[in-house]
Assembly symmetry: C2
Homo-oligomer: 125 residues x 2
């Protein structure tokens, strides 16, 4: 049974406060991590909340990376979802965690789009 | 133990092909679903792939909704992540699934950002 993609949900604790409240810095970290993993960037959207916190998404050809930060808690909810075999989501995830100077991380990987033919190729036109 | 948010990963099968390949229609379905759930829209980014498939994200004040579609497989990978108690992610998820005319869905809910104080309030400034 093959899956179209792999989706990491990472709970990132003990991060640097200033980084988690800086949308430009987070955007650069996320984009750089996606590129480091070999992904192709398609769209980027980030938003800074008042009084603090950042949400952002990097849409890549292979799916997306998403982040929501709570600087006051040193916490970030990070998603890295990649499809295909060319891009390893853990490369991007680990790079982001390192740049956030996280103290600890809990991450799970879910397989998305499982079909009983390789990538559903029998159904592809 | 309280969680900051709830994150639904939904595997949506047997969807309408034309809907899954129409970025404008998907964007409207996603935005309408977010609003129906009571969320506040912050950023919207959608991308159409060649020859087919759509990826898109709606950033809301309460986190995000994301979609990746494979029209040729009738499949969509849907995420609905909401924080706080005001917005129920299942309202948005169910609304999207209904509008995709899905035949079947497998969905899991993950709790994100679990702290041992209510919403980490002891740490909030």
């Amino acid at each position: 049974m093959d899956a179209l993609g792999r989706h990491i949900l990472a709970e990132v604790f003990g991060c640097d406060h200033d980084t988690l409240n800086n949308p430009q810095k987070i955007e650069k970290i996320m984009v750089d991590a996606a590129l480091k993993a070999g992904a192709e960037i398609r769209e980027v959207a980030f938003h800074k909340f008042s009084p603090m916190g950042v949400s952002g998404v990097v849409i890549i050809s292979e799916s997306h990376l998403a982040i929501h930060t709570w600087p006051e808690l040193g916490y970030a909810a990070l998603d890295v979802f990649t499809c295909g075999d060319a891009v390893d989501p853990w490369v991007a995830c680990n790079d982001i965690v390192e740049n956030f100077h996280a103290e600890n991380v809990t991450a799970t990987e879910s397989r998305r789009g499982i079909f009983n033919t390789p990538y559903g190729k029998d159904d592809l036109g």
